[in-house]
């Protein structure tokens, strides 16, 4: 009760102090319960879906994929490549955020399908308002202004080029309550030499009387996993446009069947001249089942012979 009243008082004080500018901001902020668009001029921008030229500082949209699992393949030179298969299931632009309306440029991408009965009413309202089919997963990707796409644009797996590097974000698997060795990589304590009941313990947590406390942020045992993690510079080995599958090298966070988010790599930037910008626009008359998988180029130098 006391906390509530204190919050109330502070809020009232804030309102009182902010009252004169609030009144001067016109009635635009007070019309929160109307469904009518406020100004027609705000939605007048028309985004043209046509291929453009990618500037070095432009940022394309990312995509949503489902982690299907891992396998291993042999490349052209007989080296084994650990592979994660990602499935870009029906990616579509579900909302465009513009500087004039939201204050920034971003694209909201939807992935998968969902039935209306499985969604809550506000979610259904969002899809209805945007005029896109119901989606299983939504994610917003900040883009630069030249990389904007209209609502309803489908994102193909050819948005990415085999051989480029991407960053893959996902939610890691839950590991439960873990000790310091597994959670933080502590060395533990000796197995012998008189160590008693403390082989995997974390050891000291601080100093003596001088601070007299354990510092905040001390690495200690605790819950591990179920965190958002980004694996950077994941190499795209192969794409399959017919089935919207993506073969990437190495691991990505999350369990099988989890959603991961793929963006162009920040550090190992792909060549801007090779990437389709803002995205790949499939020709109208193509047959999706006839498309062949595209494998990354492995170069002409045998890596095994070049080592000598």
């Amino acid at each position: 009760m006391a906390a509530a009243s204190r919050g109330l008082v502070s809020r009232l004080r804030h309102l009182l102090s902010a009252a004169p500018p609030l009144r001067s901001l016109s009635f635009a902020q007070l019309r929160s319960f109307t469904a009518e668009p406020e100004f027609e001029t705000t939605t007048s921008r028309i985004i043209d879906p046509k291929p453009g030229v990618m500037a070095p500082d432009s940022r394309r949209t990312g995509t949503i994929a489902v982690k299907c699992g891992m396998t291993a393949l042999w490349d052209k030179w007989g080296a084994r490549v650990p592979i994660t298969i990602l499935w870009m299931d029906d990616n579509i632009v579900s909302q465009v955020k513009l500087p004039e309306s939201e204050g920034f440029c971003a694209l909201q991408i939807g992935c998968g399908q969902k039935k209306e009965k499985h969604l809550r009413k506000p979610e259904v309202g969002h899809f209805r308002a945007q005029g896109v089919p119901m989606k299983r997963k939504l994610r917003e990707f900040p883009v630069t202004e030249d990389a904007l796409l209209p609502v309803g644009t489908t994102l193909d797996v050819r948005h990415f080029v085999p051989g480029q590097y991407v960053d893959v974000t996902g939610i890691t698997k839950g590991k439960g309550f873990q000790g310091g060795m597994k959670r933080w990589g502590f060395k533990g304590m000796p197995a012998s030499h008189g160590a008693s009941l403390s082989h995997r313990s974390i050891g000291s947590t601080g100093q003596r009387d001088a601070p007299g406390k354990v510092f905040k942020g001390k690495k200690m045992p605790g819950h591990m996993g179920v965190e958002q993690r980004t694996v950077k510079n994941v190499w795209i080995y192969k794409i399959d446009p017919a089935r919207n599958l993506l073969w990437v090298r190495g691991q990505v966070p999350g369990a099988t069947g989890n959603f991961v988010f793929i963006k162009d790599a920040v550090y190992k930037k792909p060549d801007v001249t090779l990437l389709p910008f803002p995205t790949y626009f499939a020709p109208e008359d193509e047959d999706p089942s006839q498309l062949e998988p595209i494998v990354a180029d492995h170069g002409d130098i045998d890596p095994f012979m070049a080592a000598d």
């Binding site: 489902v66 982690k67 299907c68 699992g69 396998t71 291993a72 393949l73 042999w74 030179w77 007989g78 080296a79 298969i85 499935w87 998968g112 399908q113 969902k114 039935k115 209306e116 009965k117 499985h118 299983r136 017919a242 089935r243 599958l245 369990a255 099988t256 069947g257 989890n258 959603f259 089942s289 045998d302 095994f304 012979m305 000598d308």
Partner: protein
């Protein structure tokens, strides 16, 4: 799904309008006959299995109402919806019944022809757990990879107890081809990652090698002899001194 129900409502409205001309008592008397007709028609129409299932769904959903003799006009109409086309009852409802199977077809998309055409993809609108779908995709991809390797190279069947000779390219060693002869003591069947374990004697010392069966570095596999064994894993050969005495 929602639009499907919307279609149902539309059909019901249209038929209500059309039935204002028809006597309601006549409809009630012939109602049971229509129901039977609809089931018959479905069996005749079962090239499109989805449509049949739609009709059965209808009958199941509204079956209780239809059976009751004092049924209202609306539920009798619903029971007749799939049977209209076969009976050529009214022209505007014929179009509605034409809409119904197509809509159902596109919703489920799980007819056998569709699945075989796009066998790699799971059915589109079906709401399954994603990890199951993902595992299914992995199985398909694994199978395809195995098929591809088998189509490119001839790989003989290998079992524990076979004495085989391998020609293996070692990329790390300047791509030299080494010939390895030994007995297969274990197989691990795991799709593309199927491996087998070969035991041989080199200079009086037993050596075991583990090879992926579908590796492109294995250039040739020849089966020299087939020993009859009664185990799947011949690890007991490790304890015997000289398993390759005869060769």
């Amino acid at each position: 799904m929602q639009s499907l129900y919307g279609k149902f409502r539309l059909v019901t409205k249209q038929t209500i309008n059309s039935l204002k001309n028809v006597e309601l008592s006549k409809v009630a008397s012939t109602e049971s006959r229509y129901l039977g007709c609809s089931i018959n028609r479905c069996s005749g129409f079962n090239s499109d299995r989805a449509c049949a299932s739609a009709a059965f769904l209808l009958n199941k959903e509204f079956g209780t109402k239809v059976v009751s003799p004092a049924s209202s006009a609306s539920c009798s109409i619903v029971s007749m919806v799939p049977s209209y086309k076969g009976l050529s009852f009214g022209n505007q409802s014929a179009s509605a019944s034409f809409n119904l199977p197509t809509r159902k077809f596109s919703t489920s998309g799980s007819t056998p022809e569709n699945v075989s055409a796009a066998s790699e993809l799971p059915p589109r609108i079906k709401f399954k757990r994603l990890d199951k779908t993902a595992r299914h995709i992995m199985q398909i991809i694994d199978k395809e990879a195995v098929e591809e390797v088998k189509s490119n190279r001839e790989i003989p069947e290998i079992k524990p107890g076979y004495i085989i000779q391998l020609k293996v390219v070692v990329p790390e060693n300047k791509r030299r081809v080494s010939v390895i002869k030994g007995i297969v003591i274990a197989m691990r069947n795991a799709g593309l990652n199927t491996t087998f374990r070969i035991r041989r004697l080199v200079g009086g010392v037993g050596i075991e090698n583990l090879f992926p069966l579908y590796s492109p570095n294995i250039k040739e596999i020849t089966v020299l002899d087939k020993k009859r064994v009664r185990r799947a894993k011949l690890y007991y050969l490790r304890d015997k001194m000289n398993p390759l005495r005869k060769h």
